[in-house]
Each structure stands twice: as C-alpha cells, then as structure tokens.
Point group: C2
Chain length 333, copies 2
Amino acid sequence: MAVTIREVASAAGVSVSTVSRAFTAPGQVQPTTRQRILDAAAELGYSANPAARSLRGSGTGTLGLIVPDIANPFFPPIIKAMQARARHLGYTVLVADSDEREADELAAIAAVSKRVDGLILWASTLTENRLHELAGRMPLVVVNRHVPGIPEVRISLSAGIAQAAEQLKAYGHRRCVFINASRAELSRGKSIQESFEALDLSLSELGPYEPRFETGVHAATLVAAHEATAVIAHNDLVALGVLHQMANLGVSVPRDVSVIGIDDTLLASVSTPSLTTIRIDPEEIATRAGDLLIETIASTTGRTGQGRDVAAPFVEIGSRLIPRASTGPAPAH
Amino acid sequence: MAVTIREVASAAGVSVSTVSRAFTAPGQVQPTTRQRILDAAAELGYSANPAARSLRGSGTGTLGLIVPDIANPFFPPIIKAMQARARHLGYTVLVADSDEREADELAAIAAVSKRVDGLILWASTLTENRLHELAGRMPLVVVNRHVPGIPEVRISLSAGIAQAAEQLKAYGHRRCVFINASRAELSRGKSIQESFEALDLSLSELGPYEPRFETGVHAATLVAAHEATAVIAHNDLVALGVLHQMANLGVSVPRDVSVIGIDDTLLASVSTPSLTTIRIDPEEIATRAGDLLIETIASTTGRTGQGRDVAAPFVEIGSRLIPRASTGPAPAH
DNA sequence: ACACGTCATGGGAACGTTCGCAAACATCAA
DNA sequence: TTGATGTTTGCGAACGTTCCCATGACGTGT
C-alpha cells in the first residue's frame, strides 16, 4: 500500500542500497544521483518505514519519557519542549506517566521500552536495583532521583530559594513557614531550612502533606498560629490553596502575608494576586535531559560494554526567583 | 541482545510459529503447550518486538494524537485519559502538538504517521482536501472540526451554556458579555447567542481576541461600559484574566459581576474566587475519540475499500455547568 | 603500462515477527 | 477398516530496511 524504497529505486534507476544511502549517509552517494533519488522520493511521496528501519538494528528514533503525572501543570511545558528539541534532532518522543505508583511505572516502562532507544525516568519510584538492571538493558537517564552510576539530571532549587530568602529578608520578614507536601523522603525542606538559617530567618515546617490545593487551604489557617508573615509552599498548587484561604480569612496578600510558590507553572502567573515563585526553566531541563539521553545512547551503541565503572555524567539545572505580586513588605508589627 | 521468539521456541521445545500463536491467537494452541510457552517466555523475559511485529503488517499498536497545544491545561487530562484507555486496549499513544500552525501540524503528522495505526486530529488546521487525502491513507478521526465523510467527535457546549444562561437568569442578570477569543471561524459565540436569546438575556460579544490571560484583563475593563453584570469567557484562562482585572478595579466577584469560564481546567478549581465554568469531561472525550479511532482502524483493515460513501460516524460529547463561587445574584441596580 | 588505493554503486543476507499452507495426528461416522 | 473432518503444529516466505561485501570505474604514482 505505502510506497517503499524499492519503488523509489526503480523510479530513480538505482539500486535499493543507493536509495538507502541517499537518506542515511548523504556523503557516500554522488550529489547528482542523490538529487535524482530525492526528487523521485518526493514525487512518490516516499518516507522510510520506521519499523523496518529499527528492525535492522539502527535504533527506533524514539525517546521515552516517563513522568509522574502528565496532568500536573509542571510537566506539559517540559514535554512540549522535549518534543520540540527531539524533533529538531530527528527523534520522536513517547510520553507516559507513572502516577507515582511502582506498578504503573513498570507497566509504562514495559509499554514503551521496546519502542524507544532510551528512557528518561522522572522521579522514578523504582528501587536502585531495578534501575540498575534497566540501565543495563537500555540507555537511561534519571531526573529528580540519584542513583550511583546512572546518568542524572539534578534540579537544584538552592539558587531560587536563596533569592527568595533574600527577598523576604529585605522586605523585613522574620518568621516564615514552609509547607512540606513532598512524598519523597528527600524533601525540598532541607535546602530551604539551610538558606533561611543562613540569613537568620526563622522557619517552621508544616506537614508533610499531599501536594494538593487543599493542603494549602488547610495550612493557611496554621500560619497565624506560627506568627509568621511569609509562607513558602511546596509548589504553586499548594501556594494557590494558601492564597485562596487567606482571601477567605480576610488576610490580605501581600499586605499581611507574603506567599511564595515553586515551579512557576501557569497557575502562578494567572492567579490573583499573581504568585511569586521559583522557576525551573522547562526548556532547559528538557534540552539537557534529552541531550544527555542521546549522548548516553550514542556511547552505548559505540562501545560494546556500557562502561559502568566510569563515573555517570550528571547535569545540574538551576532555578531563580520570579518576583510577582504575592510578596511584599512585612507588616509593621 | 534482546531475547527473541526463537529462543523462547527452543526453550519451550516448539516451533517459532507456535510461540507466535500462543501470544496472538491463544485459542489456536493447545492449553498445555501454551502454558509451557508462557512460562518459558516469562523466565527468559521475552516480549515481542513491536517493530518486527508491525513490519509484517499487523499494525503498530500505536494511536496518534495531535492536539493544538500540549501545554494548554485543557489537554493534559485528555491525553492522560486517552493513554489509560489505550493501554487498557493494548495500544500505546503517541502525542504531538501542532501549535495551531499548518506547517507544524504537517510536520507533526509526518513524524508520527508512519508509527501509528491511526490518527486523532484535534482542531486541525488542514484544508478539507488535505484531510480527505490523509484519511485515504490512514484511519482518521477529527475532533472539533467538521469534514464530511470523516469520523468525528463533536463537542457540544449547548447543554452547559443553556445551564449557564439559566443560572444567570435565575440570579437576575439581564445584560451579559461574551468574550470571544476563538481563532476558528466557528466561534463558540453562535451557540451562546442562541441560548441567551432564548432566555431573553441581552448578550454583547467582545472580540475576537487571542485566547490569552491578557485578553481577559483587557476585556474586563470593557464590561462596565456595556452595563453588564455577567461575563462569559471563551475559556478558563481568559476568565481568570477577567477575575484578575476585576480585583484590580475593585470590582467584587461575584457580588458586582459574575464570571463564567469554559473547559473546567485545573485553573478554574483553584482560582480565587473559584470559577464557575462549563465542563467537558476529559475522560469521556478521550474514551469516545479513542474508541472511534480503533473502530475506524478495524473497519479499514477489514474491508479493502474504506467505504467512503457510507456516512462517517460521529459522536457528540455533552457539557454541563460546574457552579462555583464566581457567579451569584446580580446586584440590585 | 602496471599495481594500487579511492570512490560510487549493486547484490543479498539479516533483523524478529506473522501468516498461508501443509503435514501429522486424533476423532468419528459409515 | 476407511475416508472425511478437525485440531495442533511446523515450515518457510514475506514485510522494508540497513549494511557488509563485492564489483567496476577512475585516477595516481612508479
């Protein structure tokens, strides 16, 4: 039904091999011949069948990306950016989500693993052993997870948090609250605690809760009890819950209380008041993670062994404060 | 490197064909033999290579979904739901976005078309001719677009809009404004106009603008000039812009003005005040569109001709009002 | 003029699977 | 017992591509 390489070959008056080379190794075929082939291909509407191509062993041309939750507004911009980057490099991206459950993550991996050349696992719930086993079978990059020997993209919030602490300090805040809603053992709290301590700001930690809007609603009622004038939330969604409840309580943001989110999702820019937040650039993370995976793929296909003994590469992604309308001077007490 | 069907065959002491059948046509192989094969496969960690499988002609087991913008919060829940549905039916979903530009849409289609058994095109920017041509080459379902002869999922806002009009009427509103921010010629406005007229509500249309937050901000300043007490926006994002600007202007929502969005994205449920909006169930639309595509695929592979003359199926998805805090009684004038 | 590398091209096996065909065997009615 | 029928299995071609190897054609240095 579809037009194959053979038809292009006979149309251009060359052999199948030459057509193949015209596409995959342009330098190896004479320019005039190549042009003739390209013309014939265009006329017939030919494009290579990826299934056949990958069967012969040259990879699938697809990257796998498994995120905790596609519907979490943090991820779509990252997915979008990675798609764009990948397309630019001749790859397609296959996305799936794990719902932060090991069983679902395994199912997702099973569904995509045979169709991709490599996998990016975001905040994987898998054990180290399983991850190592998987990394032995295919190129792997982990994000938001540290496993010795596996290439990694690390997101560092410290720069953004330091800027947030600085801003609050400059605005005269003394007592702050952090709403911890992280599921992972490695909470964002530690880094925050350090930054605030360094500036002599008192920080109480609430939680851990689930990372939901209602968490913010609930936590907002506790802020007054801590005599805090600033709140930093686990993410934008939780921060919006705080904003919501503050409005209900008649507490003005930012006049009475300042609120800071994390992630700079769409939510932050369209809330009322708009939300000061800590941004992690989705394009940067998509680009770096994608490139790292492609690199890993290249190095795996190159040598026979995967060189497990050499140090696995890692890249660190920074963050920065996006000041908006939810932070301001501390109220005079 | 990976374990193939041949190894499973020799491990189970049967031929390659029998292993193949054990997976694809369980009824055709004797239960005891089948069990032996399954055990061997499990032990060896075998799973079929999709590339080889699709090469022989039995489809790729993948569905393509092309949406205008992955980062638009309306789509992620739909994508997620479709993934879940597809996985349940043994399919994988490959998502790409068109950025609402024809060139990008064509690029996206080119990138995925060879990897999928069929395509769902959301709000396609392609001409009817191109769509027909594409539909001749592969199973196709369009959403939010009407093309005679092509299977279609239609989203009907009329039920939700009628409910919205009812609510506003009951609350005593008389003059309303609709913010049109649709790019397509077929705006949501016509349906709205009709519903409001039917209830004797005056409706002024603003725009058309771009569907952005700033559009809402801008349009909010025009509402007073129309002496309107209720605003219905093209989508939640625009409605949030209205909410934002109303707060800036010192206009209270819903005391002075009621605001209604469309789509029921995450934005609507977490705004302050929470946004009354018209919901289109993402799961329903994902399920119906996915099922329709699979049906189309099945009917195409079945007969040789695609039966273009028979009426293309279409399914209609309803909508309903989700009342929240942004609507309330009209102010006494 | 000769051997020799270089370059462009063609031939054909191989990738892992499915599927049409036929063989082997069992079952059953006449 | 025999032929017909049905069930289970095996054989081998085919899917569309890549890539190793072979084959000429063409300089180039001796």
